[in-house]
């Protein structure tokens, strides 16, 4: 079982989001970086599949040279190989990101195709909801998003998506592409031996091949605060009648 997981380096936002003076990025001077939560689960899922079925886990990212940190995190929890497609740190649109990742995946697959390529459902920062689907089409593979449970046998992957009232099940033949969501598992923490191994591991690095996209970011801004006055109904259990008055007012009784 050969699995590839694609991840993205994103800032771990604090309680307040500050922007850089050019309004093109989050001011990350006082922030640490992470992979998006959905992708953290994708890495964990790939490692669980390896533990169950054997095989290898490759992790890939497109991003600045510093994104090596996120690849080493994946190595520290059990990934075998890490590939960095280096950019100058600028914001790549989803089409360009997918094209660059596809080109690199095709190169790597010269020595054998990945059975499964995992993505997070959407990146935490830009939230485009599309890179995995674009890559699946470019590779001519079936794809399903929003997955919170998956099982693999020799020829197929069975994937479960939650709906409002329950779940729905999809079955895709391998090789396939699956975008997963947080909740599919609880990701493990790196162990000390894992960290040491990851520190020494080689990260295969090369430039990302650029192509034009059609979506251009002009600026970022924080949404205006809508209100500031909170009506304090009271302190402690004595506030209960006021709360129930509110429920009546809203027609919830």
């Amino acid at each position: 079982m050969k699995t590839l997981v694609c991840v993205k380096r994103v800032p771990a936002p604090g309680a307040r989001i500050n922007l850089t003076p050019d309004e093109k990025a989050i001011d990350a001077r006082h922030l640490s970086f992470t992979v998006s939560p959905h992708e953290e689960c994708a890495v964990e899922e790939a490692i669980r599949l390896k533990e169950k079925h054997g095989g290898t886990v490759t992790v890939m990212t497109l991003g600045p040279a510093d994104a090596e940190e996120q690849l080493r995190y994946a190595l520290s929890v059990g990934a075998d190989e890490a590939v960095l497609l280096a950019t100058d740190g600028a914001d790549w649109d989803p089409q360009a990101t997918a094209a660059a990742l596809t080109a690199r995946i095709k190169e790597i697959e010269g020595s054998g195709a990945f059975d499964l390529i995992l993505f997070g459902n959407e990146s935490a920062d830009s939230g485009g909801y599309q890179v995995g689907i674009r890559i699946a089409h470019a590779l001519g593979r079936p794809v399903i998003s929003g997955i919170k449970g998956l099982e693999v046998d020799d020829e197929t992957v069975t994937a479960r998506r939650e709906t409002d009232s329950g779940s729905e099940v999809y079955r895709l033949s391998l090789p396939a592409v699956v975008a997963v969501k947080e909740g599919i598992n609880l990701p493990r923490y790196p162990t000390l031996p894992g960290r040491l191994k990851a520190k020494k591991a080689e990260v295969i690095s090369g430039p990302a091949s650029a192509s034009p996209g059609g979506l251009f970011m002009d600026r970022l801004f924080t949404p205006p605060e809508q209100k500031s006055v909170t009506n304090i109904l009271g302190r402690g259990p004595e506030a209960a009648p006021a709360v129930v008055d509110l429920l009546e007012e809203l027609g919830l009784m």
Partner: protein, 308 residues
């Protein structure tokens, strides 16, 4: 005016609230034509194919691509739901066109579209330019109020050419766990955070929700601690809710949680910390330990219900 196709989703033949929002946003930029798989009650384009027996994202994307090829609209839009974003990503991949996910505003600027779209689930907004022969965009949930729709348009059936490959990714089994009120449809959500303290601590939240026809939600720390299933999580990586009343019990209000419930019409926070972001952003608040407060609310609701 330029033609905008809007892929609409329906619930047993009734168009969904979020699709109505997408239609409303689309009407600000062009002449809207609804597209549905089977009947949506809206009229417009109706995609029909013997193989489309259940939701199949790649096949619906392919059908839309064929419809775009035949009709050459200026744009295709959909609601920024799980399915809307998924189908539109297939369409973008098939036509090699850019897709702007989760927009909150659109303005024509020459040949381009100037958009505002959500980042970080809504805690940050982005102004961007979309340059494409056919513009593709999804509309962020609850970013506009759905305008009332006029009478249904006449139906035009569109039959795409589909193969087994298109239909391979489709729902093969459906499991219904909850009947009736769900997190996204409940008029009131009673949600708990770290302050609830334990899985058992949710008992009183369940009781209150049961009394007032609500659903129980929770914050990310709660699911990460294994106190509640992930399907109960409200927030950026969980479910987006927009109830009439959101009762946040012991939730500090981290931005990742706030974006999942900021579309709620009224927010009541119950928290020991009067300075917590959830309390300062809420419409109403009760300060103090949530368990005695909720017990008192439950008792008060019961006594008023009993006396009427």
């Amino acid at each position: 005016m330029s033609r905008v196709l809007v892929f609409v989703e329906d619930d047993d033949g009734v168009v969904t609230e979020t699709s109505l929002q997408a239609l409303t946003m689309a009407a600000t930029i062009g002449k809207v034509e609804a597209v549905s798989v089977g009947t949506s009650g809206m009229g417009g384009w109706q995609i029909e194919h013997a193989m489309l027996t259940d939701y199949a994202p790649a096949a619906i994307g392919e059908a839309l691509a064929q419809l775009v090829g035949a009709e050459m609209p200026a744009a295709v839009m959909a609601a920024g739901t799980e399915r809307g974003n998924e189908v539109m990503a297939h369409l973008g991949a098939l036509l090699d066109l850019p897709l702007a996910a989760n927009i909150t505003r659109v303005v024509q600027s020459g040949e381009d579209w100037k958009l505002t779209r959500v980042r970080w689930g809504g805690s940050l907004l982005e102004e961007c330019t979309l340059t494409a022969a056919v513009k593709l965009a999804t509309v962020a949930l609850h970013s506009v109020e759905a305008a009332p729709q006029g009478t249904a348009s006449p139906i035009t059936v569109f039959t795409p050419e589909l193969t087994d490959a298109h239909i391979m990714t489709r729902v093969i089994e459906r499991v219904t766990l909850t009947e009736g009120i769900t997190l996204t449809t409940a008029p009131v959500v009673v949600s708990g955070g770290r302050g609830v303290g334990s899985p058992e601590g949710f008992g009183v939240l369940e009781e209150l929700a049961g009394l007032i026809g609500g659903a129980v939600g929770c914050s990310r720390v709660v699911t990460n601690s294994g106190w509640r299933p992930h399907s109960d999580q409200v927030g950026q990586t969980g479910t987006r809710v927009a109830p009439n009343l959101y009762i946040a019990c012991g939730i500090s209000g981290a931005i990742q949680h706030w974006v999942g419930m900021m579309a709620s019409k009224t927010v009541l926070a119950i928290n020991t910390d009067a300075e917590a972001p959830m309390v300062t952003k809420a419409d109403y608040a009760v300060i103090g330990d949530l368990h005695p407060i909720l017990n008192a609310i439950v008792a008060e609701v019961k006594s008023r219900k009993g006396s009427t």
